[in-house]
Symmetry: C2
Subunit: 301 residues, 2 copies
């Protein structure tokens, strides 16, 4: 079956009734389900995780955007998190038999319907970018307020679908396709943020480290440690163990050891199995040897 | 759902038509499926792996035993593997929501029906043992030929259900319940079987090593190595990484390193995740964070 995970980020983290209404759009679809939702009042933002067919996820998102059009006005939105739209960003992640091409097609279909039916301007990002691959921060630069002005002067900043002006209250949204991302944090037995920052800089792709790794240092000294917080954006190509071993080795250069680590949120099975295979030096291991995988596969057949 | 894995071992490894007929008994049941079958002409034995509800697996096994009664005669059976019955041994392994108590109940139900309906005498082993826990080798000691005589003289060797004499052509069968077993082999960068034997002796429970570990040395010098071949009979209590790390440390005492390892056949997901958690020093990790586990759970709900 071709299913996708989507992670819609809405600019509402305070009004529980609005958040509930957004969630219900995904729960009401037969071929979709809401796996998780988180919200933060300081960020004034909620992040939903839903899984389903492209059709069901698109219908649910259109329904949710109708609510967002009615309830969320970016002109009066305050919050700590960068944002440019009432639905700020939504990536499609291919699951099971779905390919990245399928995810790109779903993202494009949703983008066009958002403009055609609701007059919401859309940007495409990550794998769904129209030309050169674009990332969220460069599209969202200046936030709602800044982007609203930028599109008037700079053609390169205009939406990919619709516009050129942003929607008066909704702003604009960013739709895309990407692989599942693993949020992976490593805690160091140290209270020295400079060491955490140096390790984060060493490991992340943008400053010359490992490909597919984004990293920052986080102050967790209240917990007796400092943290290297990573987003691993392609654990097939750059496995979790590679990032972990890199941080362990780098920390050793500062005479610091790793206390523990954590995976935040969801992780693909293949990512965890790759760690076990590395650790046991397994040869010839296949995911189909995992009893539960075999049962799920036979059950579908 | 309460489902079980069973691993029926039949004393037929040469006649493909008989093996196919045995397999079909499990394929024909709506609530059971055949996951795998292997056979070996030298051993003259086939090993099936099936999954399903207790009811479906019992019906399928009764059907298979009717075929075995007609086709297999232990008086004329020759093969390298120890055996005492046409269906030689069959363990029930609890899966998903099934408990060990459920597996024991299923084993007992099958055992009584084999005697009541087909006059096949039954022994219970492992967790399904009636009194003190009994293992297969002690029940099967002397094979079909020896056991046939032993039951006439020694009351302690008589079947738990039916008998006291074995079935004239079928022999008797051993039914039981146990946890899933992980077949885990570690290859050493050495051609010295004495080192492999010493490590196997050190790691196995029976000679003072790790609980829940059975181990022997296997000569794989043709592949440029020697092997410590282990059966891990409770990877919840004694994890795969514990056995692996034990063998690595013990090998180091002989100046030998580990080349690689292999998992043969099926392994429970929890066993593999435990290895990854150990390796990454993960804190607070739950199997529900694995995307595929979450999808399977939500799909059932």
């Amino acid at each position: 079956m071709k299913r996708f995970e989507i992670v819609p980020n809405f600019s509402e983290g305070r009004r529980q009734d609005v958040i509930d209404a957004l969630c219900r759009c995904y729960q009401d679809q037969t071929d979709a389900m809401l796996l998780d939702y988180e919200f933060d009042a300081d960020h004034n933002r909620c992040v939903l995780t839903a899984v389903g067919t492209a059709e069901a996820l698109i219908e649910a998102t259109l329904a949710a955007c109708r609510i967002a059009l009615r309830e969320i006005d970016l002109n009066h939105h305050k919050g700590g998190h960068p944002r440019m739209g009432a639905l700020d960003v939504l990536p499609f992640l291919p699951l099971e038999d779905a390919t990245m091409e399928d995810a790109i097609a779903a993202a494009r279909a949703l983008g066009h319907r958002l403009w055609d039916e609701l007059r919401i301007p859309v940007y495409f990002y990550e794998e769904a970018s129209l030309g050169q691959k674009r990332l969220l921060p460069e599209i969202r630069k200046g936030n709602f307020e800044g982007l609203r002005e930028a599109v008037k002067m700079d053609a390169s900043r205009r939406p990919d679908v619709g516009g050129p002006d942003l929607h008066e209250t909704f702003g604009a949204t960013v739709i895309g396709a990407r692989k599942p991302l693993v949020a992976f944090n490593v805690y160091l037995r140290s209270l020295d943020m400079d060491i955490a920052k140096a390790i984060a800089k060493a490991v992340r792709e943008s400053s010359g480290g490992l490909r597919n790794v984004r990293a920052i240092a986080i102050d967790t000294t209240a917990q007796g440690s400092v943290q290297v917080s990573m987003n691993l954006v392609d654990v097939d190509q750059t496995p979790i163990y590679r990032a972990y071993e890199f941080v362990v080795a780098e920390a050793a250069h500062y005479g610091v050891s790793v206390s523990h680590a954590e995976v935040v949120g969801l992780v693909p099975l293949s990512g965890m199995l790759a760690v076990a295979e590395r650790s046991l030096r397994l040869k010839g291991f296949h995911a189909e040897q995992v009893l539960e995988v075999r049962l799920a596969r036979e059950g579908r057949a």
